[in-house]
């Protein structure tokens, strides 16, 4: 028993987490966590900046309906591994190396479909009567988009962002198998050296980061959503609450990874 405790090799995952000498090659936990977090947050932010305005504009003018429907399917069908592998390979061919560009570009590409399609569907689903009423009292199209459609759609948009963010974290850690760093490094290193505790510790840390990010965005959505915006759109059906809520968007857009 005592020999066990004194042994250099950790005997469980928590001992591994507490023992910094185990992480000579795979880096300190805060460093790797920081890499994963900044990659994820940066990529999600870029995707929001790119996708939300475009989707609001397109949805407002009812353009590109087929595109928005297909973007979900395309995002779901393409394996996440592919996006990372292709980004790395293209980057290497053009001399940009392994980090950080390929992984960031891959993550942005991952995040775009769910954010775009959720925003599009949400804005598309804003009650026509509200928009008509606003138009009738002389509100400009710009104001309709920014101060009516966007707030009313914000709940679903934030759901899309949450889905995207979780996927982005999941993809970021896969990047460790394609020459990236971040928390995935522990799983790569652990699988490579048959160190089960390292794999378990890495998995716990990754799950922790994903859950924390999800929770943060959930709390953020509680703070940001204007009062009075109901989370579920009421549909005028024969029996309230018995319809499969067809007006609600498919916020499961894109694969988990």
């Amino acid at each position: 028993m005592i020999a066990n405790l004194l042994a250099a090799d950790p005997t469980n995952v928590f001992q591994w987490l507490g023992d910094s000498s185990e992480r000579l090659a795979s880096g300190a936990i805060p460093d790797q966590a920081w890499i994963t977090i900044w990659h994820s947050v940066a990529a999600t932010s870029i995707a929001i900046v790119l996708a939300v305005p475009l989707a609001v504009w397109l949805a407002h003018y009812r353009k590109a309906e087929l595109l928005s429907a297909w973007l979900v399917n395309i995002g779901r069908v393409i394996p996440t591994v592919t996006i990372v592998a292709v980004a790395v390979l293209v980057s290497l061919r053009n001399g940009y190396g392994f980090e950080p560009w390929p992984i960031l570009i891959a993550l942005v590409a991952m995040a775009l479909p769910p954010i775009f399609s959720n925003t599009y569907t949400a804005v598309r689903g804003v009650d026509e009567n509200v928009v008509s009423a606003a138009r009738a009292i002389g509100t400009t199209e710009w104001s309709i988009m920014t101060s009516i459609e966007l707030p009313l759609a914000s709940m679903v948009i934030l759901t899309g962002i949450r889905v995207a963010a979780v996927q982005v974290v999941a993809t970021e850690v896969i990047g460790a198998f394609f020459g990236g760093e971040g928390l995935g490094a522990y799983i790569r290193q652990g699988l490579g050296n048959r160190d089960n505790y390292e794999v378990q510790a890495g998995a716990l840390l990754i799950t922790g980061v994903a859950m924390t990010l999800d929770l943060c965005l959930f709390l953020l959505s509680k703070l940001l959503i204007p009062k009075g915006v109901s989370p579920v759109k009421r549909s005028s059906t024969d029996r309230a609450g018995t319809e499969p809520r067809p007006s609600e968007p498919a916020s499961t857009a894109g694969p988990v990874s």
């Binding site: 394996p79 889905v163 999941a170 716990l204 994903a210 024969d238 029996r239 499961t252 988990v256 990874s257």
Partner: protein, 267 residues
């Protein structure tokens, strides 16, 4: 924990569907013609330039068909087995949730929790506890549950109240009503859930390459390991094709099972 709403049954019009299929068919034919033209001009001297796709690897290499078939079979196994288990579990959970309404929230929370775990982490941690294949099946099953349960519950909830009243009026028992009325009417939404889960799983199978499985996805990892883009492209395209074919197959089965839905005008 991620709030996810059930995926609605798709309401694309028949015309759009045929246009899309036409475009896909034309694209495939064009691709085949182009590929053929490339093969005819192949010789070994073009190999060293290492283009994005080396067609002779795909079409002339003797081992390629066998390897691809083996990988496709593994990919199918890793899709169908978790889906079958997932549908069984989801059916059970749905029945529980219908019987005990309060249990829907914990069921949703748990399945959402599973859905939020990054697959990379789940494959890794299960690998340390069990065999590779079991680890992959358990992980993939757990990812199918959220979408399946959501859509199963939503599908059954979506059966109009007056239909239920009519069934009760005819003196049907709860089980008989479930099987003869509710499930058939819920099938479109149920099938949409199955389709979405299947396509998602097909995409996720690739990640199980990190535990020496991966089906067609292992081609992507192999391609990276030697920086050989042909393998990455072929693995991806076949994986996408597989997902699309399974999606169309399930769509077709769903349509066969609900002939009455075709007569209804779609929104």
């Amino acid at each position: 924990m991620t709030a996810l709403s059930p995926v609605p049954a798709t309401g694309r019009s028949a015309a759009t569907r045929w246009v899309v299929r036409g475009v896909v068919a034309v694209a495939l034919v064009a691709f085949a013609i182009w590929a053929k033209s490339r093969i005819d001009g192949l010789d070994t001297s073009t190999q060293a330039t290492n283009p994005i796709i080396r067609w002779e690897w795909l079409f002339l290499r003797e081992r390629t068909p066998d390897e691809l078939r083996e990988m496709t079979i593994q990919h199918l196994q890793l899709t169908v087995i978790p889906m079958a288990i997932g549908i069984t579990i989801a059916t059970g959970l749905t029945l529980v949730a219908r019987k005990l309404r309060w249990s829907l929230t914990p069921i949703t929370v748990v399945t959402s929790f599973l859905y939020t775990i990054p697959s990379f982490a789940l494959f890794g941690i299960l690998r340390t506890l069990t065999t590779n294949f079991q680890a992959a099946v358990i992980a993939l099953t757990s990812y199918s549950l959220l979408v399946l349960v959501r859509n199963f519950v939503a599908g059954l909830d979506g059966v109009p109240g007056h239909v239920l009243d009519a069934a009760d009026g005819l003196g049907m028992g709860p089980l008989r009503r479930l099987i003869t009325v509710e499930i058939p009417l819920a099938l479109p939404v149920i099938f949409t859930g199955i389709r979405v889960a299947t396509v998602t799983i097909v995409g996720l199978v690739a990640v199980s390459s990190i535990i020496q499985l991966g089906g067609l996805g292992s081609l992507i990892f192999e391609g990276y390991k030697v920086l050989f883009s042909t393998k990455i492209v072929v693995g991806t395209v076949l994986s996408i094709l597989l997902a699309t074919l399974l999606d169309l197959l399930l769509d077709w089965v769903g349509r066969l099972l609900t002939p009455w839905a075709r007569r209804k005008a779609e929104p």
